[in-house]
């Protein structure tokens, strides 16, 4: 408390109240011995620096220089050390002694640390200043800023060039992440080529930094680099560093951002009667009965709101414990963390434990040995519901369970009710068994580095063993559901699950990865030379074994009875890759930068003779701000750093759409089964024409860009433009028409081409206002792919060319009909000149959709389709993010916004067709619809609404893909907002901690978008709207270091 008052005093000090206030609050003796320091702060070239902070070391006693760089600071002692800082300059310590008053001049040196920052690139490291490719980096602070369960979720909106879409937000889910919308990138974790799943499930706290290779800088990964590369480096300890212990923990409450809510029982019943009458002119529902449901008071006529099963406070928790440090020879980082995340439905949980251990030790002066292990155990537990995805029944149940039904017979919680679809009745979930998924991963890497006596030359060798096991146990148990017999007060078994199902899938992956590498790096005067030459080989074995049984009892979990076995699936796959890696860098005076690199790469996927390819890259950089003309021009005061970059690289893409052994002729085993004379005989089928001429897709990427920094780093950023041209996309030569009667399909060859291009930019501004430090930044990425040419396209007529050609045309165009209105009356339908439904409009009712007859032929058919939007399944073409941080003393606040445009959502099934699956629909379909004033009177007048009149059998013409059902989405969501408070040092030290920070955080608090009325999240993609959307989360947490 006393401390706080002391702080307060010095705020006022600046305003001239110093004397009075200090006298009032503090001991008089402090003032009596004090010293007033006056001075000014300038740069090396004499520029006056306003806003510089002058702080008495070890206290919070701080003032800021005024607009002329002058400051005055009162200190209680006669000597002190002052720390002077200003953005863009290195902090400087000044010792002052004296009595009463002293004047000093502080000259600050420019801060070049940002340029000296180490950037991890493929098979090596460079400084930020010498990087010539388009490489974005994210460091540990930025990642742990948001408590995200998966790494890709932590990256949303943070990096230019990264596009994300959270199509599924269930616990443990990752965001779909791409680099520049090029496709799925390659992930490399601590030098080991890996997959998206490994990347996403890393412990976020264990990541030191992430580098994203967006252009030719990825070419060194050869055949797998065409879509860019994401490099992850985990944390290490430093030599001669005291042991540090860090704890990060949070607890949060989650709810769904949005999910379609089913209509009420009253609406549902009315809609049923209405649909019957619209369709057949009659219904079995009587007006009296419908009225009783509307009232909802009489027994048997009360509805049930199934959305109450969706929780608003599903818990998640996380704790990470890590320690790092080092002695003379050995340094280490050890970490353990656990995440637990519940879904909004009871009984659904995801948890993960991560372990990381990085140890390095040195033998003599030249040899360094390292062992890096990262392991995890992941559990995904859900009820064992029918169907492949156990989330489906829970999501589907929100609409599939009818609002006229109740979960329990007679509302007695001992008896789950027999309803429309018992599998979606939440009351049955607790009886339904389980689905337990477990993934266990261990990646162990042995490193060795030997420094030769030749200066700058070293050899490294690495061996990695990777093991991933996926164990999936499903037990769908039998149970009964009940109907209440009121007369006899009995609960009759009237349904339930009679179809027990038990499987165990045990799949594992083992990788062996070998690498050796020669590194050279040396400076000769102004010449800077470095190079890498290496060789890498990797192999993977994948084995998957599944047994399925039909257990005789619910109480035995073992699959050990032969007569219960139903199915056995056994899969074995092997693959192998090898490559030679090379790269050379030359820099002159830090101004002219040249990099030549590439890879000679081979893959098992292709037939002998077509396996190896060379993937070269070249990139150049020119740091203009280092030129003397620049320095002399005075421009350098404004633009302190400016670097031009250009790169070109060729890469490969193995993803050619045929299996690895497509070049092998022969027969496929296990296709079809026949029972011949009572015996089960497994079928075998001819493989058809082998694919012997297909090779990888060639991908050439060109990038130009520049990095800049203004006012010594206050404003910094980069701009890049890129173009990736892919040639050799697989296609068959369809000018050779083989008669279908000989049943030979021409194999695909490398014929077609496409091009992705775009721009991206990143800006960051850092400054201070008084004592408030803040940073704001933003980034945006625009990237889209265009088909360039295909093999000899043929079109019968100009319409076909217009409709079907892919020549030099953007990909991801959705075609549909243009909605121009709704029929207002039956007379209008009768007299309407255009045949909308292909049946002379005989199937239509008022409110049905009218489409533009573009070709004026009097009938709506596929000739009237026109482009109406973007793809609804791919990444958005335009992504953007904004973020900011403000700190004031111990308080810090950070936020980030993420958004996207140029993507679309089509609608289907549940959120388009009323009564789809004979189930409930979102209330907007039932209420905001065309209907008769008296639904029971077919002669009453029509009342307008947004949606067509209700029918149970879908009306084909209403459901055509059209602009009515299509939304071109834009959204901006508050991805994250976080308020933290770091306890003052005095308190922390008393408690023997070095730092304690408490925070509260909100994730996905709101989003501004144009699909709110559909009750779907803008990032989900299923047409029916039944994706598990991302969570809205409130977290509280703490970072503790000691």
């Amino acid at each position: 408390m006393r401390m706080f008052k002391y702080y307060k005093a010095f705020i006022r000090c600046k305003k001239g109240y110093l004397l009075a206030v200090v006298c009032f609050f503090c001991l008089p003796s402090v003032w009596a011995q004090g010293l007033l320091v006056k001075g000014k702060v300038t740069s090396e070239v004499g520029e006056l620096l306003p806003g510089a902070s002058v702080r008495e070391m070890g206290t919070g006693n701080t003032v800021y220089s005024d607009k002329n760089g002058f400051f005055s600071l009162a200190i209680p002692d006669e000597n002190a050390t002052l720390v002077v800082t200003s953005i863009g300059f290195l902090p400087q310590e000044v010792t002052v002694t004296g009595k009463n008053e002293v004047t000093i001049n502080v000259i600050l040196k420019p801060d070049m640390r940002e340029l000296e920052e180490v950037v991890v690139v493929g098979y090596g490291e460079q400084t930020r200043a010498s990087v010539t490719g388009s490489v974005a980096t994210v460091n540990s602070d930025d990642l742990t800023n948001i408590p995200a369960p998966t790494v890709s979720q932590a990256l949303i909106g943070k990096v230019a060039g990264i596009t994300t879409r959270v199509t599924d937000g269930r616990p443990g889910a990752a965001a779909n992440m791409q680099i520049r919308n090029l496709g799925n990138p390659l992930y490399v974790i601590d030098g080991v080529q890996s997959g998206a799943e490994q990347f996403n499930q890393l412990g976020v706290d264990d990541i030191e930094n992430i580098s994203i290779l967006k252009d030719a800088s990825a070419a060194i990964y050869g055949l797998r680099a065409a879509n860019g590369v994401v490099l992850v480096t985990t944390k290490k300890g430093a030599l001669n560093q005291e042991n540090k212990v860090n704890v990060n923990t949070y607890y949060g409450w989650q709810s769904l951002t949005r999910f379609p809510k089913g209509a009420s029982a009253a609406d549902f019943v009315r809609a049923n009667a209405e649909a019957d009458i619209n369709e057949h002119g009659a219904t079995v529902w009587t007006p009296e009965e419908v009225a009783k449901w509307q009232k909802g008071t009489e027994e048997g006529y009360q509805g049930f709101d199934w959305s109450t099963y969706q929780r608003k406070n599903a818990p998640q928790s996380y704790i990470n414990f890590s320690t790092n440090g080092g002695g003379q020879k050995t340094n280490y980082y050890l970490s353990l963390s656990r995440l637990s995340q519940d879904a909004v439905y009871e009984g659904y949980n995801f948890s993960r434990m991560n372990l990381q251990s990085n140890i390095e030790t040195r033998i003599g002066n030249r040899l360094k040995l390292g062992l890096r292990m990262n392991g995890k155990v992941e559990n995904e537990d859900t009820p064992g519901l029918p169907g492949a995805d156990d989330y489906w029944q829970a999501l589907f149940g929100q609409l599939r369970n009818l609002p006229t039904e109740r979960p329990y017979a007679n509302d007695n919680p001992l008896y789950p009710a027999t309803n429309n679809n018992f599998a979606t009745n939440y009351a049955t979930f607790e009886y339904s068994g389980y689905s337990d998924k477990q993934r266990r991963t261990l990646q162990t890497t042995f490193d060795l580095e030997y420094k030769f006596p030749i200066t700058g030359l070293a050899i490294t060798a690495m061996y990695t063993y990777f093991y991933n096991n996926f164990l999936h146990d499903i037990f769908e148990k039998t149970y009964s559901t009940y109907t209440y017999d009121k007369i006899n007060n009995m609960y009759d078994v009237s349904g339930g699950q009679q179809n027990p199902f038990r499987t165990r899938k045990n799949a594992y992956v083992t990788d062996n990865i070998y690498r050796s590498q020669l590194n050279y790096k040396r400076e000769f005067g102004r010449h800077n030379v470095s190079g890498v030459l290496g060789m890498e080989a990797q192999e993977r074995t994948f084995k998957d074994f599944l047994v399925r049984s039909r257990p005789a009892t619910n109480y035995i979990d073992l699959i050990d009875q032969f007569n219960e076995l139903q199915d056995v699936i056994d899969i074995i796959e092997e693959n192998a890759r090898a490559g030679i890696i090379f790269r050379g860098n030359y820099a002159y005076d830090g101004r002219y930068l040249l990099e030549v690199g590439g890879r000679y790469d081979g893959s098992w996927r292709f037939p002998p003779g077509h396996r190896w390819g060379l993937f070269p890259s070249l990139s150049l950089g020119w740091r203009i701000s280092g030129e003397s003309f620049w320095k002399n021009s005075g421009l350098s005061d404004l633009i302190t750093h400016f670097k031009l970059r250009a790169s070109y690289g060729e890469m490969g893409d193995e993803g050619v759409g045929v299996g690895p052994f497509a070049y092998v002729p022969g027969y496929n085993w296990g296709v079809g089964t026949a029972i011949l004379d009572g015996a089960l005989v497994t079928g075998t089928v001819s493989r058809g024409m082998p694919v012997t001429t297909l090779s990888w897709i060639n991908s050439a990427i060109t990038n130009i860009g520049f990095d800049f920094s203004l006012w010594r780093g206050k404003l910094s950023g980069s701009v890049d433009a890129f173009k990736r041209r892919r040639t050799g996309l697989p296609s068959s030569r369809y000018d050779v028409l083989i008669p279908t009667e000989v049943a030979l399909t021409l194999p695909p060859e490398n014929l077609n081409a496409d091009e992705s291009k775009g721009v991206e930019s990143e800006l960051r501004f850092r400054s201070t206002i008084g004592r408030v430090n803040y940073t704001i930044g933003g980034n945006a990425t625009l990237a889209r792919t265009r088909n360039l040419y295909s093999y000899k396209p043929r079109f019968g007529n100009s319409w076909q060319y217009y409709r079907n050609s892919a020549e030099d045309r953007w990909q991801g165009i959705a075609w549909g009909y243009e909605y121009i209105g709704q029929f207002q009356s039956e007379e209008e339908i009768k007299s309407y000149p255009v045949d909308i439904d292909g049946q002379h409009n005989t199937t239509l009712l008022p409110g049905d959709l009218i489409y533009r007859d573009f070709n004026n032929d009097g009938v709506i058919n596929d000739l009237d389709m026109r482009p109406m939007g973007y793809s609804d399944t791919s990444q958005p073409c335009l992504s953007y993010g904004f973020h900011g941080r403000v700190s004031y003393k111990g308080i810090d606040f950070a936020f980030s916004l993420a958004g996207a445009s140029l993507q679309s959502r089509g609608r289907a099934a549940e959120i388009k067709l009323p009564f789809h699956n004979d189930a409930n629909s979102p209330s907007y379909l039932f209420n905001d619809r065309w209907h008769r004033a008296d639904i029971f009177d077919v002669n009453s007048s029509w009342v307008s609404g947004k949606y067509p009149a209700l029918r149970k059998t879908p009306v084909p013409s209403n459901n055509l893909p059209s602009t009515f059902w299509y939304t071109n989405i834009s959204y901006l969501r508050l991805r994250n907002a976080q308020l933290g408070y770091t306890l003052p040092k005095e308190i922390t030290e008393k408690l023997r901690f070095s730092r304690i920070r408490l925070y509260i955080n909100a994730t996905n608090l709101f989003s501004i978008d144009n699909v709110r009325s559909l009750q779907v999240d803008p990032e989900t993609q299923r047409g029916n709207g039944l994706d598990y959307p991302t969570h809205r989360i409130i977290n509280v947490g703490a970072n503790v270091n000691f």
Binding site: N272, A275, D276, H280, A282, V284, T286, P386, N421, F422, N499, P500, F501, A537, E539, R550, Q566, I571, E573, A578, P608, R611, P660, F661, P665, G666, Y667, W669, G670, V671, G672, T673, A674, I675, L676, G678, L680, V681, T682, G683, T684, V685, S686, R687, M689, V736, L737, I738, P739, T740, E741, V742, G838, Q839, F915, N917, D918, K952, T953, P954
Partner: protein, 615 residues
């Protein structure tokens, strides 16, 4: 020194590349090489198994398979209200309806024949048998083609593509419709005595081959005759479709002689194991033991190879899984095609001559004295399945003052205010999924074993491709067309006697009677569509007219009478005939449906192919 280093570098690079190439050599796990397959009789059989498995293009027991019966006047789709419901609402049959262009199967059979022929790993006997079996499969596949498409190119070998120059030789024109039927007959004549497997019901043998000939030649004969009786016969100038009328007689004779050979062999007889005629007819399809009637089947086994026909079609109240039920439901049209045992036509009596309801004590009483095959084919109101009675009631007729008020609601098993049943547990409901819409459920092929209606277990009932009763019907039709009426009458009476009519129940035979017998005996066995086509009456039956008694699907809905004042009528049952409410568009068969269209891709690739008429 420099040279030496250079040399070492070169050697190291070369060696490592060689090592790498070997490193990339990996073995596939699911691929058999040619030499492995044709080295081993077991694997040759495995190839055959794949071929046998692909011989039911309409699908047999798959959803597509039984949906096929809802396209004709046998049944109606009462399953989900989604996509399949277009069977009830479509304007007409599209021209690609039931087209068949399965040349990948033809190629695989030809490849099988060539590989067996070229291999020296089989004994001479094995080879003869395997080749004959392959040729039978090919003949059957061509029959599947010709019945749908008319004449098609007869491809009898495999082709190899080495470059665009090879394409010209691959273009084969369509054979005439007559040539294809003659090819089938000739192949069967050549192979029938080479086929072993005499007692097999799953692998081709002599009798299966003769059964194919019996059916194919009957089709050919009727096409030749009835096409030319049309006002304007359907044909192409090259004879790709349309068989000259003068061939009819020969084809009927060929068919009759094939049928007679089977009949006279004594290998098969009509199933007659259960004195209860109704149950006997049902068991004929589900008894996989010693079943003397079955000639060729697509067999199933649980576990190993099951099907979901029972799951999809079982009456609503008897289902054993969450979904499914009542997909295929018989139409009243078919139910009324079954005669009364006294020989009277099978119209059900719902009203007396004054237009008053006829009151039945039990719902099943209205079906009394019908052909017992009706019970064996259809689950009708009040009938039992697997010992359980179906609860089929559309609602209640309540007597209010001076007239009946129809009372009904949407809830299966709901009660009326008098405590009695309002709507049956099995429907019918007017607009609900997986509840019968016609008032009937299917019984034929429905499996009564416990678990057969569960998705996880399924049924092992076999799909019968040929059975003896069809041979008898083929023989009767052919004989009748050849003016051998007495022989024909004898066959029909045999069949009717087994069904439960007394001996010699018919004394006079007509074309109509033969066709009706075929319709009721072979219902839901994938005959109706092809029969109506070859008799050239499909366009008359499925005329697209509203309220047509043949083109609409009709329903029979039972109601319970609530009339406490009149004990003779109270709690009795009355019936209403109506067009099934979910069925909104009468079937409309156009002239262009007599032959399905040839896929555009095939026309594009082979200019020698001529289109079928009207397309």
């Amino acid at each position: 020194m420099r040279k030496l280093i250079n040399y070492i570098v070169q050697v190291v690079v070369l060696l490592s590349l060689l090592a790498c190439e070997k490193w990339l050599e990996r073995e596939p796990s699911e691929i058999l090489l040619d030499k492995e397959v044709w080295n081993d009789a077991k694997l040759a059989e495995s190839v055959l198994a794949n071929l046998y498995n692909r011989l039911d293009p309409q699908g047999g027991f798959t959803v597509a398979g039984f949906l096929a019966h809802t396209d004709v006047d046998e049944g109606m789709w009462s399953g989900g209200l989604g996509d399949n419901n277009n069977k009830n609402t479509r304007v007409n049959f599209p021209y690609n309806y039931r087209n068949y262009w399965s040349y990948d199967l033809v190629r695989d059979v030809n490849l099988f024949l060539e590989k067996v022929d070229a291999s020296n790993k089989f004994t001479a006997d094995e080879k003869v048998q395997l080749l004959a079996e392959g040729r039978f499969i090919r003949a059957y596949v061509y029959f599947l083609h010709v019945r749908a498409m008319g004449g098609i190119p007869l491809i009898l070998k495999t082709y190899i593509y080495n470059g665009p120059g090879d394409v010209e030789n691959m273009k084969v024109p369509r054979s005439t419709e007559a040539e294809v039927y003659e090819f089938i007959a000739k192949e069967i004549d050549e192979i029938k005595d080479k086929l072993e497997n005499a007692n097999s019901k799953t692998r081709a043998n002599k009798w299966i081959a003769l059964a194919l000939k019996s059916r194919a030649m009957l089709y050919a004969g009727s096409l030749a005759r009835y096409n030319n009786l049309m006002a304007s016969p359907i044909s192409t100038p090259g004879g790709e479709v349309g068989i000259p009328v003068d061939k009819a007689r020969v084809y009927y004779e060929e068919s009759l002689s094939a049928s007679r050979e089977i009949i006279e062999s004594g290998k098969y007889r009509l199933y007659n194991e259960n004195p209860d005629r109704s149950r006997n007819f049902y068991e004929l399809f589900t008894n996989k033991g010693a079943n003397p009637e079955v000639i060729w089947v697509h067999d199933f086994a649980v576990p190993g190879k099951n099907h979901t026909y029972t799951f999809e079609n079982i009456p609503r109240s008897m289902r054993e899984s969450a979904g499914g039920s009542s997909g295929l439901t018989p139409a009243l049209n078919l139910v009324e095609a079954f005669d009364y045992l006294d020989g009277n036509p099978g119209m059900l009596k719902v009203n007396d001559p004054d237009g008053e309801y006829i009151y039945y004590t039990n719902p099943e009483d209205i079906f009394a004295n019908k052909d017992p095959r009706l019970w064996g084919t259809v689950i009708y109101p009040g009938a039992t399945f697997s010992g359980k009675r179906v609860s089929m009631q559309a609602g209640v007729m309540e007597w209010v003052v001076d007239r009946y008020e129809r009372r009904q609601n949407n809830q299966l098993g709901s009660r009326f205010k008098d405590g009695g049943l309002l709507v049956g547990m099995d429907g019918p409901l007017p607009n609900a999924a997986n509840v019968t819409n016609t008032g009937f459920n299917i019984r034929k092929y429905l499996d009564s074993k416990a678990g057969a209606a569960q998705q996880g277990i399924g049924s092992d009932v076999w799909w019968i491709r040929f059975r003896y009763a069809e041979i008898i019907l083929n023989a009767a039709e052919a004989a009748f067309e050849l003016e051998q009426a007495e022989e024909a009458l004898n066959y029909i009476n045999q069949l009717r006697e087994r069904a439960g009519f007394g001996p010699n129940s018919l004394t006079v035979l007509t074309t109509e009677k033969i066709r009706q017998e075929r319709r009721v005996e072979l219902a839901f066995e994938e005959h109706r569509w092809w029969d109506l086509k070859r008799w050239r009456i499909a366009h008359e039956i499925f005329n697209g007219q509203d309220n047509s008694i043949t083109a609409e699907k009709w329903a029979l809905w039972p109601y319970r009478v609530v009339r406490p004042g009149d004990p003779d009528k109270h709690n009795k049952y009355v019936f209403e005939k109506r067009v099934a409410p979910r069925f909104t568009r009468p079937l409309f068969f156009r002239m262009g449906n007599y032959y399905a269209n040839i896929p555009q891709a095939a026309l594009n690739a082979n200019p020698l192919l001529v289109k079928n008429p009207f397309h």
